[in-house]
């Protein structure tokens, strides 16, 4: 799903031995077209399987969760993998996005007389409400990310972790008690926010996933992304080469919060009830585990591990008593045998794979060419 602009790093692979004629390349528009077709095909087939009954209600529900956690992991990866900070309050942004979107949709649909059934049938008004609500949830989370990020990003490492952890707890406690403070029903407090219309489906969740991945990927390939990576590598050098480090650290943090808010908005619609207790410290850790397991700085890694770690506990339900142990063992083994994460820093680009195929550069062909080059040398 990762669209990759050709970064013209000449000589990234040993030329000469294989490249007797000009290397065939895939233009950026062609890459976009191929990826778009694949994403649309994936969405259509998935949607047909859901409506046709090939995917059960329960499986569809798990799949939606997979999509939501993919966005969570990829968004945390911006702050952890790309920016190199360690925020521990990602669940806080998720809850802000979830609550604000859910409250927005509940209130507006009451005001204009849209029922839950309309959401299930998917009327155009509901589609609009969904889009506005999800973006609204993201923006609320981004705003809180800005408020938290400005003081928090003055700190580094452990200190940043603790301060973001503290902020996430504040958010949780606010959600719990704000009704009493403001004096009217807003979040529903400890008993939770109920009556959220089921505004998510396989189709719209994964459409949002595709759009989020595309936006984050494009951002990271741009000069803004390069600035963020430079800060991770060496903050002083980044500053000395002319990167406004304060701005870009805050920017990355806010973008990370925005997408967490979007995921939260989807979560609210998928689960149908919001309770502050769901967004505690453990939720933040769970998402951090996904990022670390997948490989910090690899979008593909985040996607794969979010998928595996969401499905695994469900798939292990048959072994109810042992499933959390199995889950823990998987984590421990991965960290022992693959500490850099499943994918390390590798990122998948379909465009590049096709380019290799167009040039006949297959893994085994490359080895042969290398051997010949060695023999000649």
């Amino acid at each position: 799903m990762a669209n990759e602009k050709s970064t013209n790093v000449a000589g990234a692979r040993p030329e000469g031995a294989t490249a007797t004629r000009a290397r065939r390349t895939l233009s950026t528009p062609a890459r976009y077209v191929i990826n778009t077709i694949l994403v649309v095909a994936f969405l259509v087939i998935g949607d047909l399987m859901v409506s046709g009954g090939a995917i059960s209600r329960y499986q569809g529900f798990v799949l939606q969760q997979v999509g939501i956690y993919i966005i969570m992991a990829v968004s945390l990866n911006i702050a952890t993998g790309y920016l190199g900070q360690l925020p521990l309050g990602h669940a806080g942004f998720m809850s802000i996005g979830g609550y604000s979107c859910a409250i927005f949709i509940i209130r507006v649909s009451e005001a204009i007389g849209v029922t839950s059934q309309d959401f299930i049938n998917g009327t155009p008004v509901c589609g609009l409400l969904f889009v506005v609500g999800v973006v609204f949830g993201g923006l609320c989370a981004a705003l809180s990310g800005l408020v938290i990020g400005i003081p928090a990003l003055r700190l580094k490492g452990d200190y940043l972790a603790i301060i973001t952890l503290g902020f996430a707890e504040i958010i949780r406690v606010v959600m719990l008690n704000i009704d009493t403070v403001v004096g009217f029903e807003l979040t529903g407090g400890a008993k939770g926010l109920i009556g959220i219309p089921p505004y998510t489906s396989f189709l719209n969740v994964f459409a949002v996933v595709a759009i989020s991945l595309f936006l984050i990927h494009t951002m990271m390939k741009s000069r803004h992304g390069r600035a963020i990576l430079a800060i991770r590598d060496n903050e002083i050098a980044a500053e000395a080469t002319g990167v406004n480090t304060t701005y870009y650290k805050t920017f990355a943090f806010v973008v990370s919060a925005f997408f967490a808010g979007v995921a939260g908005a989807l979560y609210a619609g998928c689960i149908g009830v919001m309770a502050p207790a769901r967004f505690g410290f453990m939720k933040s850790i769970e998402i951090l585990v996904m990022v670390v397991l997948g490989g910090m700085g690899s979008m593909l890694g985040s996607v794969v591990s979010a998928t595996v770690l969401t499905i695994l506990p469900e798939a292990l339900r048959a072994f109810a008593d042992y499933r959390m142990i199995a889950y823990a063992v998987v984590l421990i083994l991965t960290m022992i045998f693959r500490p850099q994460g499943l994918m390390g820093r590798y990122d998948f680009s379909l465009g590049n794979v096709i380019e290799h195929l167009m040039n006949g550069e297959l893994p085994w062909a490359r080895k042969k060419a290398d051997k010949e080059a060695d023999a000649n040398a």
Binding site: A12, N234, I236, A237, E239, A240
Partner: protein
Amino acid sequence: MALLSVRDLHVSYGAIKAVRGISFDIERGEIVTLIGANGAGKSTTLNTIAGLIKPDSGSIELSGESIVGVRPHKIVEKGLALCPEGRRVFTRMSVAENLDMGGYTRTDAENAETIKVVYERFPRLRERVGQFAGTMSGGEQQMLAMGRALMSKPDLLMLDEPSMGLAPILVQEIFDIIKELNRQGTTILLVEQNASMALSIADRGYVLEVGRTVKSGSGKELLHDDDVRKAYLGG
């Protein structure tokens, strides 16, 4: 008018005063060096000029314009580049990407031109465009750090300990390159512990001791000054 003029600069880290009233000037086209022992305040001075640290008091003027309190990225845009101590290349980026970052404040078209000049100056970098900077040797990393600083086409290039941790033959190579850069029109402010090398290529030098300028003169004068010889050049 001097290209860079520093007057009565005071800098402290918390309660520790690192720089206590340093003043110096750099004219266009010169190589000026600041020498001194550990803790003399050399690097602090450079970092303060680059905007990485805020001074307590004093003035820093670039072509007559005060740059005190200006953010580092704005100072780069004004034509002043710092090649920081310990090289600090972007280890997880390729050579080409590192150089690209050096031209961060400039347009792609400008960078395409400058990168050719940098590759001409440092042919070794061209050979390694796709290699991760972190996997290169110390000397190559130093060249990359200098190339990266040059990508912003600075009027004034500040080099902080370019010879640090390099083999003698590489030190010679780096200093030859510095001389050549200067000959082609870049003004250079050089901070060094290797005083004899620095003074031998410098037009003028300043000797710093615990945050103060204790001596100044032409490179040659200082090289033959008895006190300097005793303190920094081993008798």
